[in-house]
């Protein structure tokens, strides 16, 4: 793929077949994220039990970077405690927006490292993460 580290195979395959994609029948928390500038539009659905994120789903439309980032995120946050998830979200966010730390310790997510070098695309990578943070804080109202 020569100069294009942005579109690595992992990203392309998560775009094509995203993990944990769709709306689950039941969930305890959810949020919607929308970027009017590019039209990226995602929903995150969570089942949080005993402070653990038991299940994560996402749904929506957007570019390959945003979809792959959401897909990778759902994989990495499943079965994490809320505190662990918060810390991963913060690491990802700080790396993308402040260039602090690195993504190596976050495992597979590190394929998104290259996005940081394309300022116009950083929002694509972070939108689902913002939405996730919001979802964790937003229980479904009865």
């Amino acid at each position: 793929m020569n100069q294009n580290e942005l579109y690595q195979q992992v990203i392309l395959s998560h775009n094509k077949s995203p993990k944990n994609f769709g709306k689950p029948e039941s969930f305890t928390h959810w949020a919607e994220g929308f970027n009017p500038l590019c039209g990226d539009h995602y929903f995150i659905y969570l089942t949080i039990e005993d402070n653990v994120i038991k299940n994560v789903f996402f749904e929506g439309e957007g570019c390959a970077i945003s979809k792959a980032s959401a897909s990778l995120m759902t994989e990495s946050l499943k079965n994490k405690t809320v505190e662990e998830a918060d810390s991963i979200i913060k690491k990802f966010h700080d790396y993308m927006t402040l260039s602090e730390g690195d993504l190596k310790e976050l495992g597979k997510i590190s394929v998104l490292s290259g996005v940081k070098d394309y300022p116009a695309r950083i929002k694509c990578a972070t939108i689902s993460w913002h939405t996730m943070k919001q979802a964790i804080e937003t229980p479904v109202s009865e």
């Binding site: 793929m1 100069q3 294009n4 942005l6 579109y7 392309l12 775009n15 094509k16 009017p36 500038l37 590019c38 039209g39 990226d40 539009h41 439309e61 957007g62 570019c63 390959a64 970077i65 394309y118 116009a120 695309r121 694509c124």
Partner: protein, 406 residues
């Protein structure tokens, strides 16, 4: 256009020699802003290097000289638009500045319940100022529809008009679709009910010969930076008879005849509307941009760009899983498209990796995207320095994008 002439023209734009990501630049984002010829840049720097001075306020040589060069541009604008003494040139910050000025100044004369008509294919700069006026003065904002091709529905436009309608404000050439609107018919419809017309010529200005006399346009707005001039300068060219009734929006120096604490008397038009020191170098460079266009000839430009647009549309329609958005029979300079299953932002990034500059997104025309039920498009917009080779590289680029997403 003769290939020798084209090669010469391309030499006028030093930026075309740059490489982007290791490839010679293919610049297809002309609707966002055009490139600048050396001639225009030289005029800018000549002003700052050897002619710097403020205008309208000095008896010394440099000030008078700058004033003369600055004022000459009003005439260049007049000639470029085929106007006469019925109209006046007002310098603004751009198209957006010009439309906002009309919305505030002409808008201040409207009353609650009065109506302004725009169209579904407007740039946000011809929507939001009217919404702000609506919120300020309780006017009614009406929207004329378009069809699936992106062609304005004139019958619908006509049906929106009532005795309360005070202005029709429509784009000449859609930046998102490339549609050329029938300005003659729009004006005819509006004038039959004595309603003035504002034409957003931000895009048209560099691609279409505009004859305000023949079209009888009341207000026309454009930006220098979309016609090979500098950013930060634009024009409202408007009928004096309308301007005479309009209040100034900004107060300050240059817009007054006399100032006393109990009473200030405003200057005459156009100065009344140009408070403060304007972008003097920018206006003078706009004049140079007009001279530059004239040296090539807008007719030649139109002809050549038409040929390029046909070529590009043909080539792109041969690509599988590509859909052109905006298929009006009357189009200029813009090809907006979507690829099945590939988001425009990915298209834009990957084309960029091949040195091809296009715009992706909603092009400041979200209602257009909503109409076509798409989040965004990829837009290639041409100018006279583009070549068939540029189009071929775009086509190769698109095929490359599709191969990555296979």
């Amino acid at each position: 256009m003769d290939s020798n002439i084209l090669a010469k023209i391309r030499e006028d734009f030093p930026i075309l020699e740059t490489e982007i990501n290791g490839y010679p630049l293919v610049y297809l984002d002309n609707a966002a802003t055009t490139l600048k010829p050396k001639y225009v840049i030289d005029r800018l720097s000549k002003h700052y290097l050897y002619e710097t001075s403020n205008i309208h306020r000095g008896v010394h040589f440099l000030s008078q000289q700058a004033t003369t060069y600055f004022e000459e541009v009003r005439d260049k604008v007049k000639n470029y638009l085929h106007g006469n003494s019925t109209w006046e040139t007002i310098f603004t910050k751009g198209t957006t500045g010009a439309i906002n000025f009309v919305a505030q100044s002409f808008g201040s004369l409207l009353e609650s319940g009065d109506e302004v008509i725009i169209s579904q294919m407007e740039h946000h700069s011809n929507i939001v100022p009217w919404q702000m006026l609506r919120d300020r003065k309780s006017i009614v904002l009406k929207v004329a529809q378009m069809d699936e091709r992106g062609v304005l529905d004139l019958e619908h436009l006509e049906s929106l008009i009532t005795e309360k309608t005070k202005l029709v404000s429509i784009t000449y050439l859609s930046n998102a679709l490339g549609t050329i609107n029938p300005v003659d018919k729009i004006v005819e419809i509006a004038h039959s009910k004595n309603i003035p017309v504002l034409i957003d010529a931000a895009q048209a200005i560099a691609h279409i010969t505009i004859d305000v006399k023949k079209l009888d346009i009341d207000f026309i707005a454009f930006s220098a930076h979309k016609m090979f001039g500098p950013t930060g300068v634009g024009v409202l060219y408007a009928k004096k008879q309308l301007l005479e009734k309009m209040p100034p929006i900004d107060g300050g120096g240059d817009m007054i005849a006399s100032v006393r604490f109990d009473k200030t008397i405003y200057n005459t038009i156009p100065y009344r509307f140009e408070a403060g020191t304007p972008d003097i170098a920018g206006v003078i460079a706009l004049g140079a941009a007009i001279d530059y266009i004239n040296s090539i000839g807008l007719k030649n430009i139109e002809e050549y760009e038409h040929e390029l647009l046909q070529y590009g549309t043909q080539k792109l329609s041969e690509i599988k899983n590509l859909r052109v958005v905006g298929t009006s029979p009357d189009k200029s300079s813009v090809i907006s498209f979507v690829l099945n299953g590939i988001h425009p932002h990915d298209v834009g990034s990957l084309l960029d990796s091949k040195g091809i500059a296009v715009r992706t997104g909603h092009h400041c025309a979200q209602p257009v995207m909503e109409f076509f039920k798409i989040p965004a498009t990829t837009r290639a917009s041409i100018s006279f320095y583009n070549t068939k080779t540029d189009i071929d590289r775009l086509v190769d680029g698109i095929l490359y994008v599709q191969s990555i997403f296979e």
